[in-house]
Structure formats: C-alpha cells, structure tokens
C-alpha cells in the first residue's frame, strides 16, 4: 500500500528534489532553517508558506478534475471569501465568525457550480466561467471597491501567525490535505469519484449517485478556495477584491497536472498535486533567489508547463511506448487485449 503510493508520486518527488537542488546551487543557504523569536525561518519554510494558497486550491481541484471537470472560479472565490472575512471583522465581529462566514460563502459558491454541472448538465468549464466572471464583482460589492483592511489579530494569525513556531498557513494546508486524503482514501469516496471520472455511464448503472457526488466535489473545491482566500487576506491584512487570487486557478490546475493527474478524469492523487504545488512554488523561489529578474518567472513557468504537458500528451506517450516496444526483444508476450477492444 505504502510502496505503491510512493511509486505513484516518485516523478513529482524527483522533480521537486531537482528544483530544490537547483535552489541550493543558486543559493547555498537554501536548506538552512533557523528558529528565531519563536518562529521558524528559512527559504524552505518560505516555499511551504508561500505555496499555501496554491496547495489548498490543488486539493479541491484534484477532486474536481478526477470527475472529468474543472473549476475556473476558485480565484474569484478567493476574492469573495477574503472580502467576506474582512467585512465581518471590520463590522466588529470576532474572527471565528469571520472564518465561518468566509467558508460558508465558499461552500455556497461550490454548490452553485455543482448544481450547474450535475443537474443542469452544463459543461464544467462553461459552468464555472460564470462565477469566474461575476465573482470578483461580487467581492468588490462586499468591499465596496476599496481594499478593506483590518487589524483583528485572530484573523491575521491565520495568515501571518505561527503555531509552535510553524507558520499557520503551512499547518492549515497540511492539515486539510491530510484530512481530505484520509476521507477519500479511508472511505470509498475516492473510488466512487474515480469511477464517475472514468465512466459515468457504467457508474450510474452500478448505482452510484453521481449527481450528489459531483456537487460534493465542487463544494470541497469551493471550501478549499475559501480557506485560501482567508489566508491570502490575512497575509496582507486586507481584502483586495481585484487582485486576491488572481490567476491562482491556473496555478492550481497546473499543480494538479504536474501531479500527474489526467485532465480526462479518473485516478487521482492529492499528495501528488500538493507536490505539484510545491514544485511551482520552488520554481518561483529559484527565479527569485538566482537574482534573475522576476519578469522571467512567467516565461520559465510557461516553458516548464509546455515541457511537462508535451511529455504527458497522448500522442507523445504513444510514441515513447512504440520506441520502447521496438527496442525490446520481439518475442515478448503481447498484452492481453480482448476481442472487443480490437474491434472497437
């Protein structure tokens, strides 16, 4: 069980190790971690901390993509959740209520997306586009167009504080990652989600309630995005409806894809997606630390994506397979294929 899980994430671990290696080369002090003023400091800690929003989004996005869907609205949900949290504390309520309100807002957004996809049968990319467009407007409506700043220490603690010396965002994404992974893997939920993504027809004929499960995965995605939104807002002590979470939906999708999860749904690994999020963050760090102008960040990121995608594309995979097959001895046994597969 453990060995097979390790094998699944081996490529991601390898890429991450390479990225950290490059980081060490350009900045030898990269791996050093210090404990000062009751807080851990170090570049490695920064990677884990800065990567928190993408990592959180990647958790929900992994589940959505496993069902053959996609959630474009998470960036906008970040803005909404941040705005809601800020609004609640500015109005004089405690941070508990703010967190609760923000998460509820995320869940409502998720349910909206889920209903469009599961019951109105609108393509996921189209369905979530609606909220992607309107979401920032809603967030601005809540903040009334300003950057809504706040000073509530409890809320700030969620984004900029520490618990036992460890930055809170790290604990949040690790915790949520572990909880969601445990739920989907310890129960049959993960398998049922995969079944829907692989073959929805067969799944429905086997009695799986695909409608409810679809709503559930978009709900989780909305929840994760709301959590990320609270962290992003707490980090800058304010809700910026225009820029909070901008383009993060794309980073999240990328993290899932780098995590080796197919955009066509099916088998998924949340751990691999989280590693994907860390890979993206360490790419950002290496560009920063190398003293390369930050403007190269996007170009390099784009080239890495293209490289990873090309390797993953069905055409190239097939060519690689043929290459390997032709270099092997000819008398190898053919893989078992049924007659139907040959005829289809």
């Amino acid at each position: 069980m453990f060995v097979s899980s390790l094998k699944r994430v081996a490529p991601q671990l390898l890429i991450l190790a390479i990225m950290i290696g490059i980081n060490v080369i350009v900045f030898p002090g990269f791996l050093s971690i210090e404990f000062q003023n009751g807080r851990l400091f170090g570049n490695l800690v920064d990677v884990l901390n800065r990567g928190a929003p993408t990592a959180l989004l990647a958790i929900g996005m992994t589940l959505v993509i496993a069902t053959r869907g996609i959630d474009l609205s998470v960036g906008a949900v970040i803005a909404i959740a941040g705005a809601v949290a800020a609004k609640v504390v500015v109005d004089g309520h405690g941070w508990h209520l703010a967190l609760l309100a923000a998460l509820s807002a995320g869940i409502i957004c998720g349910i909206w997306n889920g209903i469009l996809v599961a019951f109105l049968r609108i393509q996921p990319i189209v369905a979530t586009l609606v909220l992607m467009v309107a979401g920032r407007g809603i967030a601005q409506l809540i903040t009334e167009g300003t950057i809504l700043t706040f000073l509530d220490p409890g809320l700030i603690q969620l984004g900029a504080g520490t618990i036992a010396g460890i930055p809170t965002p790290i604990l949040i994404w690790l915790g949520l990652g572990i909880v969601v992974t445990a739920i989907v893997r310890r129960t049959a939920l993960g398998m049922l989600i995969e079944a829907i993504g692989i073959n929805e027809r067969s799944s429905r004929l086997a009695g799986i309630n695909s409608g409810v499960l679809l709503v559930l995965v978009y709900l989780v995605s909305g929840f994760c995005a709301a959590m990320a939104g609270v962290i992003v807002a707490a980090d800058i002590k304010g809700a910026d409806a225009n820029n909070a979470g901008l383009w993060l939906e794309l980073d999240a999708i990328l993290a899932v894809v780098i995590g080796g999860n197919s955009l066509l749904g099916g088998r998924f690994s949340i751990v691999a997606s989280l590693l994907g999020a860390l890979i993206i963050q360490s790419v950002n760090t290496v560009i920063l630390l190398s003293g390369m102008p930050p403007e190269f960040n996007l170009v390099i990121k784009a080239l890495i994506i293209i490289a990873i995608l090309v390797i993953q594309s069905p055409r190239v995979k097939h060519m690689l397979y043929l290459l390997r097959a032709s270099s092997e001895p000819l008398n190898r046994e053919k893989p078992a294929t049924s007659i139907e597969e040959g005829r289809a």
């Binding site: 310890r186 049959a188 079944a195 067969s202 004929l205 053919k334 294929t337 005829r343």
Partner: protein, 503 residues
C-alpha cells in the same frame, strides 16, 4: 432487372482480417452488381461491419483484393474510398446537424463566385438534387430541424454525389418508422434504377425481402451463403444466420419447480422504444428473451432495470407496486443488470478488478458505510475463485482482462449484491468457449438457488440450455412465448420468423 451476366462493379476476393486472438474475417468473397440491392446479413460479431470497414479503408485488411470496375483498389480511408466511388451511410447520420441542408450536401466543394461561396447557386443545386430523391424541403434550414429520415436521404444524396458507383447503407432504417422506411425505399429504388450497386445492412428481415435482390449471409467471419432472395424463405435465412451446429446435443430438460411470482410487469413500455408488454418472473425461473438484433431484447432488459425510464405501465415486486425510475431504485429492490455493452455500460476500465467487483455493493451501502478492507478482499477472492476469473492480480485494471473474464467480474459485481432478480443481456457475447460453458452452468446454478433470472440472448442453443420459458420478440414487440418441451432451437427460429401466424 438483375443479371449475373453483367460484370460486377465491385469484386472482393479472399478478404481476411485478424484481430489479436481472433479471426474477424476469413477469406470472404463478395460481388456487387450495378443496379442491384445486395443485403448483407448476420448477427452481431458475424463480421458484417468489419467487412464494410475493410472495403472502405477504415481497417487495413490482412489479405485479399478489391477490384472496382475491373481495377484493383486499396482505399486508405473513408475519404479515399469515397473519391474512388464507394460511399457509405451509417445509421447515426454522419452529417453536421449545426449546418444547413445545403451546406451539408456541399461541404468542401461549395460553388464559389469571386472566391466567395455562392449561397444562391448552392441552394438551387441542392433543391434540384433533393428533388431527384423526391424530397422537397427548405435547404437553407439547419439539418437538425429535419427528422432522421430526411437526414438519412441527405446523407445518401451526399454519398451518391461524391461517389456514384457503390453505396453502402449500414442499418439506415434502424430508427425510422414504417412510413419513413417506405420513403427511404423509394429513394433506394430510384438509385437502383440509376445503376448504382447498393449494399443494404439491416436486422429487419421483412425489409430485406421487400427491397433486396440478393443476400450474403455471414456468420463468425465467414460467408455462409450468397443467394437470390427470390429463391429462399425467411426461415432459411434465419437458420443460416444463427447456425445450428449444436443441434444434435439433446437438452437436459430444466425441471425444478418455479416458486412464487417475484416480479411482474404490466403494460410496461416506452414510446418509440418498446411496445407495452406483460411479463412475470418467478423465483427459481430463467426467462429467456429471444429475437433478432433490434427486436427489443436490450430495451426490455434496460426498462426492467430502470436504466431507461418507462412511460407507461406498472411493476409489482412480490405483489406490491414499486417504482423503478433509475438504476439506484432498482438496486435498492435487489435487482441487478449485466449490460450488453460491457465496455461502455459495464466495466470502469481504469479501476482495479477488486474495485469493480465491489462497486455496486459499495454504491448501494453509500460511501459513508465503507466496506472493510478485509471484507472487500474476502469478497473479491471468493468470487475470483467461485467464477474462476483468471488474472495476475486483483489490483490490475479490469480493462486488461479478456472479454470472458471481464464478464465474470461484472457477474461477480452483481452477485456480491445478492440480488433477487438478475437480468443478463447477452451474457456470453464475445467471450471464449470455456467461459461460455461456465457462465451457462452458473445461470443454472443460480436458478436452483431460487434466484429469478431474465436472460436476453441471440444464441438459440444457449437459450434452450437454460431457459424455463422463452419470450419471443420481434420488431420491438412480444410476439410469443414457449414453455417446457416446446423450447427447441427450431421452434424459437420458427417463432421469430413467424410472419403471418403472429400477425
């Protein structure tokens, strides 16, 4: 009208095609004559569509030659064969519903003026062409605004315009009603008069006898017979299609007393899919569903399981009225269905064998009540042993198994739910001889244990082997029922073919 003295326009000899582990076509010969409708007959898997795909270049054939108008041809793909003169029209109209009728007819070769498409001329020419088929419609409307029959004629018109020598019609009438079929036949007669060679593939024998001049009957990748339609009867054709090589084997009479009525369908049906039927299935009874492809076997199975919702009639389970609106409701009532198309409706390809086995049971108990790992393992191992499923590991994806083993895994999936009423649609399709026999004896064993079974099959011998009763379907209607000693392959064939008596 038909004359064999005329040189055939298309001559194919020794066409062979192999798939991994199977021979799909074995040295098939076929000759098509101009001005003749040639029916291609056979049950599913007989090799009809493989032959067509070899002729039109969709598949690369492994042996044999094709001559068109005396010259040897090697079509690379559909487009190439079309340009050579062989046009094909499929049951699912291969046209674009989002374009207008005229655009569909002229896509890729639109008349232009000053480099721009001349819509007026295109419409005028379309109207002229369609009028030649007796069709008078507004060709500037979207294709999707017209019925399938009209779309079918437009597809034929396009194929004829582009090809003009051979026209292959693959199940063109499958989704048409009687009036529409008549209109389509008028078009076919017109084309015949123009001298086209037409291949007509269908499962409706009445239609074959109505429109065809000759027929080639295939079974198991071989040509059984090519004959003039005027020289044979429907019974002859069905016998040739189904084959009865096992006839000598005497049947062990299935006795055993059937128990109480378990499920009862009354006036159950769905418009345009299957006519309302009455059907009751007792505990410890196997009811066979016989009929040719397209007769409503699969539709009956799907309706009984809620895979398709009925729009009339009622169901009673042990005398109490129940509702089966979707598979989940059926599963909750301890119904189960092994579907005909394993690949699209049955297996979840990338999931492991173990997961495929427990899928329905897990879905029924809900994800909150997850089956214990030990229980899952025990269930999976039990069924692998009981059904003799051959596999390297329970962790391997089910799509890597052979057809027979996939079928057994699906049976295991449903047996794990301990159903009271098990529906099997073509349980032995596409599986090897060994697994075939095992599944038949399994059905018998399940019956003995008191389960109620409904089994749809195209294999007469098989139905004879396990059925306590056989319900015969024809053209989406139940037309008869055979009991006890009446159940023989001969009688079933006769019942299916029974033209006048049944009507």
């Amino acid at each position: 009208m038909t004359s064999n003295s005329v040189e055939p326009v298309l001559r194919a000899t020794g066409i062979s095609k192999f798939f991994p582990g199977a021979i799909a076509l074995d040295e098939v010969d076929i000759n098509l004559h101009p001005g003749e409708v040639h029916a291609l007959l056979g049950e599913n898997g007989a090799g009809k569509s493989t032959l067509i795909k070899c002729l039109t270049g969709v598949y690369r054939r492994d042996g044999g030659s094709i001559f068109l108008a005396g010259e040897e041809i090697n079509p690379r793909d559909t487009l190439h064969s079309q340009s050579l003169g062989i046009g094909t029209v499929y049951q699912e109209v291969n046209l674009l519903a989002n374009l207008t009728v005229a655009e569909n007819l002229f896509l890729g070769r639109q008349p232009t003026r000053f480099g721009l498409i001349d819509h007026k001329r295109m419409r005028r020419e379309t109207d002229e062409i369609l009028l030649g088929y007796g069709l008078e419609i507004d060709s500037s409307q979207l294709l999707s605004t017209y019925s399938v029959a009209v779309q079918q004629v437009v597809a034929i018109a396009r194929a004829v315009e582009l090809s003009g020598k051979v026209l292959i019609l693959d199940e063109p009438t499958a989704s048409l009603d009687r009036d529409e079929v008549n209109l389509l036949f008028a078009v076919i007669r017109e084309l015949k008069a123009r001298g086209l060679a037409i291949v007509f593939i269908t499962h409706f024998l009445d239609q074959v006898f109505e429109i065809s001049d000759r027929a080639t009957i295939m079974r198991n990748g071989r040509v059984i017979e090519t004959c003039r339609i005027a020289d044979v009867t429907q019974t002859d054709v069905i016998t040739m299609m189904l084959g009865r090589q096992l006839e000598a084997v005497t049947r062990e009479r299935v006795h055993g007393t059937a128990g109480d009525v378990l499920v009862e369908f009354k006036g159950y049906g769905k418009r345009t899919v299957i006519e309302p039927f009455d059907l009751e299935i007792r505990e410890g009874e196997v009811v066979g569903l016989a009929g040719l492809l397209g007769s409503g076997r699969t539709e009956t199975s799907n309706l009984a399981f809620g895979a398709m919702a009925a729009d009339q009639g009622e169901v009673r389970l042990r005398g109490e009225q129940v509702r089966i609106g979707n598979p989940r409701e059926a599963i909750a009532l301890k119904f189960a269905l092994c579907p005909e198309d394993r690949k699209t409706d049955g297996i979840v390809g990338d999931l492991s064998v173990r997961e495929n086995i427990i899928l329905a049971l897990q879905a029924r108990s809900g994800w909150l009540r997850t089956l214990k790992r030990a229980q899952v393992q025990q269930l999976a191992e039990h069924y692998v042993r009981a059904l003799d499923i051959r596999l390297a590991s329970l962790d391997m994806p089910i799509r890597l198994l052979s057809g027979g083993n996939q079928q057994k895994v699906l049976l295991a999936r449903w047996l794990a739910t301990e159903p009271d009423f098990l529906i099997l649609d073509e349980p032995t399709r596409g599986i090897d001889v060994g697994a075939h026999a095992e599944i038949i004896s399994l059905i018998e064993e399940l019956r003995k244990r008191g389960m109620a079974l409904l089994v749809a099959s195209s294999e007469m011998e098989e139905l004879v082997a396990y059925s306590t009763r056989v319900v015969v379907l024809r053209e989406r209607k139940q037309i008869g029922e055979l009991h006890g000693a009446e159940i023989t392959a001969d009688n079933i064939v006769r019942a299916i073919a029974a033209e006048e008596e049944a009507a």
